[in-house]
């Protein structure tokens, strides 16, 4: 009996290591898939590869900690997953593309509207100096704040509030990511975007292809929008 307990005690860490090794393998495979998707969609996104920084950030964030426990096995599949309250954790490819579109620098301060599980904020936290993130659904915001704290993302601050008004105390922001824009681009957010800053708004129902709206503000404060289609799809055949 004692031998069995000792054997079990020895085996357990190996099992954990095996799980970790398996996750690392899945993570690598996912990164390769993301780069393939980036190459395939270069004509519409303007990016043939995701930058090393974005890839490193995605590699370093344990996505399995941001999905419900029953979905851990699917954490590194390139698809959106439900996280409760009718919300999803975005597809890793979309996370990578949105992060890339923000074109952030190490010293930047970024605002995220719609924290969800906190995964996107964690990815951004690896790339910028500070991430301010706002969640409107209380249970999601509270669990995301706790999770980010436990995982040591000290440069992320979560606030429970209506993201429409942004976070004026920390404005202006170098980049803003709005995952819950509603039917218009909130004017307070436009105001809180630095001249030269970039705002990304994914548009689409849960589990749907996300049309990414890139809002840019030039040095004179003039705002323009661009639609970035994340699918390598051209609606016209070559027959014309």
């Amino acid at each position: 009996m004692l031998a069995f307990v000792v054997l079990l005690a020895c085996a357990l860490p190996f099992a954990a290591q095996a799980d970790e090794a398996e996750l690392a393998k899945e993570r690598k495979a996912l990164l390769a898939e993301l780069q393939r998707d980036a190459a395939a969609t270069a004509s519409s996104t303007g990016r043939s590869r995701f930058s090393a920084g974005v890839m490193a950030a995605i590699e370093s964030v344990p996505r399995e900690r941001f999905v419900p426990s029953r979905l851990v096995d699917a954490a590194y599949e390139n698809r959106p997953l439900p996280i409760g309250h009718g919300q999803t954790i975005s597809q890793p490819y979309i996370v990578a593309l949105m992060t890339e579109l923000l074109e952030v620098d190490r010293d930047d301060v970024v605002l995220e509207v719609g924290t969800g599980s906190g995964y996107q904020a964690a990815v951004l936290a690896k790339l910028v100096s500070r991430v301010k993130t706002i969640e409107i659904i209380r249970p999601l915001g509270e669990s995301a704040a706790k999770r980010l704290r436990q995982l040591g993302y000290e440069n992320v601050e979560v606030k429970l509030a209506d993201g429409y008004y942004g976070w004026p105390e920390h404005a202006p922001f170098d980049g803003i990511l709005v995952t819950a824009a509603g039917t218009s681009i909130p004017p307070p957010l436009v105001k809180q975007l630095k001249p030269g800053g970039r705002m990304v708004i994914p548009v689409g129902a849960p589990f749907q292809a996300q049309d990414l709206i890139l809002v840019t503000k030039d040095a004179a404060g003039k705002v323009s929008t661009t639609s970035v289609l994340p699918v390598a799809f051209v609606p016209l055949t070559g027959k014309r």
């Binding site: 699917a74 409760g84 689409g204 129902a205 589990f207 749907q208 705002v223 390598a232």
Partner: protein, 786 residues
């Protein structure tokens, strides 16, 4: 069998048929609330295979059950009653998420679980019908008549109940009524009374919380309710749908689709309105000050007001009243607001008191055909849901508001210089806006008018607005459009004299596909463009009223290869779900039809398996083809699709029931069948060529409903005859095959409903009717097979 027993059995069949059809109607309503419509249609279609499964079951086990007919009948009826609420309660707890299907095929397992559970009540009811046909085979025609009459009445009553009771309470009623059928058969009193009492107790005792619809968390309503401060302040349930009103005093909804990036105006307080838990629209709480409506001048749908001075406006589909407020903001001289949903209309009306507005309950299309007034602006639901939710789930939904003929009706009501304005979603890549433009081009060409100088199409980041002018657009009009786009941050996709440099400036897209499409559609190679665009954007017509359908098969491999980027979600899920359902239903039907054959052996007459197989298959397909095509066609005539659906279903079933009763006179007479089928074919030809009459031919809605019933009565009467005639022949030649034939007919009916929709998308409802005529002819040929 004694006369009184025969009467009681017929009454029991009628009662149960009514309850089963009510269950079908109510289940569809409830599934549409908890899921999206295409999934609801799929689940219910497959669940209806419970009829076919019962046929197979009885073909195998019927001879052993028949000696205990009364007891088995009573037990099955009671099981139906108990299963209706229980299965519903369990089924809606399964974690099925239709939106996840393209990402996670494991969801198919939950879908199968759903339809198997919901099929059980149909199975028990159909066991009663099949056993009764076997038990009283000399009275098949009258029993079948009772079945049809009961179902017809059940359809009408179930719809009526939806106006009086919440759908789940109506479900309890249907369950109890079905179980009561057990009381009418002369089983031992213990069975006859105890079983239905037990079933009724189950139906009544299930707590409300177990039955109340549990809306999928990915619909708009649960998502809004998850936000702190949101509370439901009203709920209105009817056959039109479940309307839920939500208020949030701390976090405003700010619902105003179509505003540009330059929008700065605050949106006033709003009450969110959800239909069946989704498709949010908003009732703006207006303080009476014009300035507080300024946000409505920031949407693409405000464009027509830049070209018109104090217009007379008719708004088709008012929803929460956003379009009405937009017209008031722009100082419209007179406003007619039309909406088919009476509760929605009343809600908007109560909050927008203004003497300039006349409110009308009805379908917009029917209204403009009979109203008689001319308007400066005909505008279609500018600020209501754009169908973005539910994964393109609208793809197989019919809409008679955006067809070539509909635009022609609107155009006919325009005063000189007047405008039609339609606002739709501006998806990437664009579909709806291009289809709308193609439809408008077709309408103008049919009128012999040049479309180039009469059309304007602009787009924002969410919406596109099309204008069609009665008359040629002037230089001042064009300048106004340009100014509006410049101020609001929109791009022109088409206007006379458009400069390619102005088509992709404010909201930049990978390529100006909308402009390219408009240019191609106005040029000489419009046909080639329609062929080469990867989505189907051909103009919608009344015969093929599928405005939201854009699926092409050639898309599937390409988008499947782009699955990792979310490519599959660009597809019309509604269409794919329909095709998938047909495939599954066909396979299951085949299995159900073939399974009992070896056990049944060959009938004594020898070789007689072929004629009943073809005969009952064709009848099942043909009957439903006609019913479904007529529902659509008479929807336009009556003006209220809901009334048309109920009138056509109930009318067909009741008159077919009468035909079935009359058929007892023709029993076994092959010559009569030939004449009957000839009559059906002739009446179908008349339906295609001359019916229904135009909407304005009859003045009142009740008159139009009565006319519909009169026009379908002779057809339905004849269509009710072949089935009992066939069963009677089978009863004489090979009685063991009766439940098998019944099952074939059940499977065919399920397939027919699905295939009719698929055919209508591709070839139109007229062809569906002609195919139905052909199916009846084939059935007649099968009858005469050696």
């Amino acid at each position: 069998m004694a006369r009184s027993e025969r009467m009681m059995l017929a009454a029991a069949i009628g009662l149960l048929a009514g309850a089963a059809l009510a269950y079908q109607v109510l289940l569809f309503r409830l599934l549409a609330i908890i899921q999206w419509q295409p999934f609801a249609a799929t689940i219910i279609s497959l669940a209806l295979l419970g009829h076919g499964a019962a046929g197979t079951f009885l073909a195998l086990a019927g001879p052993r059950l028949l000696p205990r007919f009364h007891a088995v009948f009573a037990l099955s009826a009671a099981l139906f009653g108990a299963a209706v609420p229980l299965c519903w309660s369990i089924a809606q707890r399964l974690p099925f998420n239709g939106l996840e299907l393209v990402w996670n095929p494991a969801q198919l397992g939950w879908l199968a679980g759903l339809f198997l559970l919901l099929a059980l009540p149909f199975f028990f009811a159909a066991c009663c019908f099949g056993l009764a046909f076997m038990h009283a085979r000399e009275r098949i025609a009258s029993l079948y008549a009772a079945d049809l009459l009961g179902a017809g009445i059940g359809a009408g009553l179930a719809t009526g109940m939806l106006f009086l009771l919440p759908a789940v309470e109506a479900l309890r009623v249907a369950a109890i009524v079905g179980a009561m059928a057990a009381c009418l058969v002369p089983a031992r009193s213990g069975l006859r009374l105890a079983l239905p009492a037990l079933a009724a107790a189950v139906a009544l005792s299930l707590p409300q919380a177990w039955l109340a619809p549990r809306i999928t968390e990915f619909k708009g309503l649960p998502r809004i309710l998850a936000i702190h401060g949101s509370e439901i302040v009203g709920e209105h349930s009817s056959a039109y749908g479940l309307l839920t009103l939500v208020r949030n005093d701390s976090i405003p909804f700010r619902h105003a689709p179509g505003r540009g990036p330059a929008a700065i105006e605050e949106v006033p307080e709003q009450i969110a309105v959800f239909t069946d838990g989704d498709g949010m629209s908003a009732i703006t709480v207006w303080d009476g000050r014009r300035e507080s409506l300024a946000f409505l001048d920031e949407t693409t749908s405000a464009l027509p007001y830049r070209l018109l001075e104090r217009p007379r406006v008719v708004l088709l589909g008012t929803g929460g009243g956003g379009g009405v407020l937009q017209a008031l903001y722009h100082d419209a001289r007179a406003i007619r607001a039309v909406d088919p949903h009476p509760t929605m209309l009343a809600l908007a009306r109560a909050r927008i008191p203004d003497a300039r507005i006349r409110w009308h309950h009805g379908e917009g299309r029917a209204f403009v055909r009979t109203d008689g007034h001319d308007y400066d602006l005909v505008q279609i639901s500018p600020l209501d849901p754009y169908g973005g939710s539910g994964a393109g789930a609208q793809g197989i939904a019919e809409s008679h508001a955006f067809t070539v003929e509909a635009l022609d009706d609107y155009y006919a009501r325009l005063a000189p210089g007047g405008l039609i304005a339609v606002t739709r979603a501006a998806e990437q890549p664009p579909r709806q806006a291009i289809k709308l433009f193609a439809t408008a081009v077709e309408m103008l060409k049919k009128r012999g008018l040049g479309p180039r100088d009469r059309l304007v199409l602009i787009r924002g980041w969410q919406t596109a607005t099309l204008l069609v002018k009665r008359g040629v657009l002037t230089a001042a009009d064009i300048a106004s459009v340009r100014r509006f786009c410049e101020e609001r941050g929109f791009d022109a996709a088409w206007l006379p004299g458009i400069d390619p440099a102005e088509v992709n400036r404010h909201h930049r897209v990978p390529r100006p596909w909308m402009h390219e499409a408009a240019t191609a559609l106005l040029g000489d190679d419009a046909g080639r463009f329609l062929e080469s665009y990867k989505f189907s954007v051909d103009p919608a017509t009344d015969d093929r009223p599928y405005f939201f359908h854009s699926f092409r098969w050639s898309l599937l491999p390409e988008l499947a290869a782009l699955r990792g980027q979310g490519g599959l979600t660009l597809l019309d899920s509604g269409y794919l779900v329909l095709v998938g359902t047909i495939a599954v239903a066909a396979m299951l039907s085949l299995a159900l039809i073939l399974a009992p054959l070896s056990a049944l052996g060959r009938p004594p007459a020898g070789g007689a398996r072929l004629w009943p197989a073809i005969y009952f298959l064709c009848l099942g397909l043909g009957f439903l083809f006609v019913e479904i095509a007529c529902m659509q066609r008479y929807g336009l005539f009556i003006g209220y699709p809901l009334f048309a659906t109920v009138a056509v279903i109930a009318g067909f079933l009741v008159f077919a029931g009468a035909g079935s009763l009359a058929a007892s006179r023709f029993r076994g007479r092959g010559k009569s069948l030939g004449w009957i089928v000839a009559g059906i074919a002739a009446l179908l030809a008349i339906q295609v060529l001359a019916l229904p009459p135009p909407h304005e031919a009859v003045e009142s809605t009740s008159g139009r409903i009565a006319m519909t019933l009169m026009l379908v009565a002779p057809l339905a009467f004849l269509m009710g005859m072949p089935f009992p005639i066939g069963l009677s022949r089978l009863a004489a030649e090979a009685p063991a095959f009766i439940p098998w034939a019944w099952g074939i007919n059940g499977c065919a009916s399920v397939l027919a409903a699905l295939v009719a929709a698929l055919l209508a998308i591709h070839v139109g409802f007229n062809v569906v009717l002609l195919l139905a005529a052909a199916l009846y002819v084939v059935a007649a040929i099968a009858w005469y097979l050696p």
